[in-house]
């Protein structure tokens, strides 16, 4: 009797919900296999010396020890990635917001929007051929040519070979491409802000556009600002293809070496999967912590 009611309860639960589960099943299975499980597996592999050719041995935190203590190139990569993220992240984010905010008040909004958004949908690899011409190290390079014509420099600057200029060049290209999802989200969010709010604000003594932005627009756009921030942060710390197409792998003096480039080097060139996974876990922790901190700050 008791089992019968249990079974029928279970039966009715299934009857009621199977469609909802079935619809989610394909996505859920793929998500578990290719997103959730890999995060866990990365943690596990990072504690082994797995190299694809031999059976893995458990080595504890040795990979992390090596990474943190002996691997000076890793620290170069961390330094480069941090400099890159600290500049490209905020600059891209605020530039996107500023552009969206101004655009929203202009005519020909869609044409402007396309002009700003187009760079971010081009391929970093494809556009680097154009940028490599701009920053070409001889007198044929556009920027060298202009600078020499004005008389600022006498000899061409070796933009993509000189360790001093490699990172700045990567950063300039990345900022050029940075008005991506954030920009679209902000523009859409701005268009959706309740117009009557501005009228009420004008009565309450909001004078300038900047006051309006601070007191009325920004609080309304919190959800969009958060979504934009998440996208910006994961993008900024994952820098890879622009860096290696500008500077190569390895780059001169590792001046363009990033965390993901380091991960790629150990994982897919040397096949030291355990070590590379430790790099991945560190990247994960950095992104996640920075993400949490920024989200928290934005919520305030």
């Amino acid at each position: 009797m008791a089992t019968a009611t249990k079974r029928s309860k279970f039966g009715s639960f299934i009857r009621k919900n199977w469609i909802g589960y079935a619809m989610q099943a394909p996505y859920t299975i793929l998500f578990i296999i290719f997103v959730l499980a890999p995060v866990l597996i990365a943690f596990i592999i990072s504690l082994t010396d797995y190299n694809m050719f031999q059976d893995p041995n458990f080595v504890g935190f040795k990979n992390y020890e090596l990474l943190m203590v002996d691997d000076t190139i890793f620290w170069t990569a961390v330094g480069n990635t941090l400099v890159y993220a600290v500049i490209v992240g905020p600059v891209g984010y605020f530039l996107s917001f500023f552009a969206a905010w101004v655009l929203n008040q202009l005519k020909f909004r869609n044409a402007f929007a396309l002009a700003f958004y187009a760079p971010s949908i081009t391929s970093g690899i494809a556009m680097s051929t154009v940028w490599l011409y701009f920053f070409s190290s001889d007198r044929y390079g556009l920027i060298n040519n202009v600078l020499m014509n004005i008389g600022i420099i006498n000899d061409p600057i070796l933009w993509t070979q000189d360790p001093k200029t490699i990172l700045p060049v990567i950063i300039i290209i990345a900022i050029w491409m940075s008005m991506g999802t954030g920009f679209l989200v902000f523009l859409a969010g701005l268009q959706n802000v309740d117009k009557s709010l501005y009228e009420a604000g004008a009565i309450d003594g909001v004078r300038s556009r900047f006051q309006e932005l601070k007191y009325l627009t920004l609080p309304q756009m919190k959800p969009q600002l958060l979504f934009g921030a998440v996208n910006t942060i994961t993008g900024a710390f994952g820098v890879f293809d622009i860096a290696i197409s500008v500077a190569g792998l390895p780059s001169p003096n590792y001046a363009g070496h990033t965390i993901v480039a380091h991960l790629y080097d150990y994982g897919f060139i040397r096949f030291q999967m355990g070590y590379a996974s430790a790099v991945a876990v560190v990247l994960f922790l950095i992104t996640f912590i920075v993400g949490r901190v920024v989200m928290h700050a934005l919520r305030e």
């Binding site: 469609i19 909802g20 079935a22 619809m23 989610q24 394909p26 996505y27 793929l30 998500f31 290719f34 997103v35 890999p38 995060v39 597996i41 990365a42 592999i45 552009a99 101004v102 396309l114 700003f116 958004y117 187009a118 949908i121 081009t122 391929s123 690899i125 494809a126 556009m127 051929t129 044929y140 390079g141 040519n145 050029w176 679209l184 523009l187 859409a188 268009q191 959800p223 969009q224 958060l226 979504f227 998440v230 994961t234 993008g235 710390f237 994952g238 890879f240 293809d241 197409s245 991960l263 897919f268 999967m273 991945a280 990247l283 994960f284 992104t287 996640f288 993400g291 934005l298 919520r299």
Partner: protein, 282 residues
């Protein structure tokens, strides 16, 4: 004109100047790209370098086809690979993600809320973090050096799921219930009622997915060993070397860049409509 008015105007002039400077910054490389793709050889190597083309020609495009038709893998083969991979990925992503988002929001079986929170947390995991385990999984499944190695993992995107889910929440329940009372099957409701209403969301997903797959450099680099299976971003790097190839490279770059920009231009309105609902509620 009052002093205050004047001050206001001058600050707007400053804003306009900044905007125009920004537009120049974003547009110049693209203008240069288009201009260079049509330059004849004599203009490509002229000194001092010229920004704009004087005598436009299509020779670079024919060079591109010729130069690579004589090599082992013709350029059209790379195009075929890119188009095939992108189209299959986009179509499957749109169907699987829309179906799951609809199931989660409108059927909402127990556990859906927790599950959604996990997916939102995954937004913060950059895809590079999971590259190695993903590689091991794909290797284990025997998919390395197949198109499936690029396509299947790409279908599990937290980002697209999030966008579509936010949009599905805005759909009225009444329409779905009315269709159910009329005796429509669940799949009928999904295809005939939900998908048309979801159009702005899946068009947006289609664009982003197209751009992401089309431009993807990392996955083909890692998973495809066979030169004949490689995609355009990888091909671009193989054309890049050699004197006299500058024209062909810029033609190839233009060909690779155009589809994404054209697609976005066509569907801009849908994209904006979806983005309105995209925020994370804090």
């Amino acid at each position: 004109m009052t002093a205050e008015r004047l001050k206001k105007n001058s600050s707007w002039t400053a804003v306009y100047i900044i905007m125009i400077a920004l537009v120049c910054f974003t547009a110049l490389p693209l203008v240069y790209l288009v201009s260079t793709a049509f330059k004849p050889l004599s203009e490509l190597y002229v000194f001092p370098p010229q920004f704009f083309v004087r005598n436009p020609t299509l020779k670079n495009f024919s060079d591109l086809m010729l130069a690579l038709s004589s090599s082992a893998v013709p350029y059209t083969r790379y195009m075929y690979n890119s188009i095939l991979i992108t189209v299959i990925t986009v179509v499957l992503t749109v169907i699987i993600t829309s179906l799951a988002a609809y199931g989660l929001v409108k059927h909402s079986p127990p556990g859906s809320k927790t599950w959604f929170n996990i997916i939102v947390a995954a937004l913060m995991v950059s895809p590079q973090v999971t590259q190695i385990p993903k590689y091991l999984v794909i290797n284990e499944l025997g998919l390395v050096n197949s198109y499936a190695a690029i396509i299947i993992p790409a279908l599990a995107s937290a980002y697209y799921f999030f966008l579509v889910k936010q949009f599905v929440e805005q759909l009225p329940n009444e329409l779905i219930e009315a269709a159910r009372i009329d005796g429509g099957g669940e799949m009928y409701i999904f295809w005939r009622i939900i998908m048309p209403m979801l159009k702005p969301a899946w068009v947006t997903m289609l664009i982003f997915c197209f751009v992401g797959t089309w431009n993807d450099y990392f996955s083909p680099l890692v998973y495809l060993n066979d030169q004949a299976m490689k995609t355009l971003p990888l091909a671009l790097q193989t054309i890049g070397t050699g004197i006299g190839r500058a024209g062909a490279v810029s033609a190839a770059t233009l060909l690779m860049t155009m589809p994404t920009i054209i697609l976005f231009t066509i569907s801009q309105r849908n994209v904006m409509q979806t983005m309105i609902h995209s925020g994370i509620k804090g």
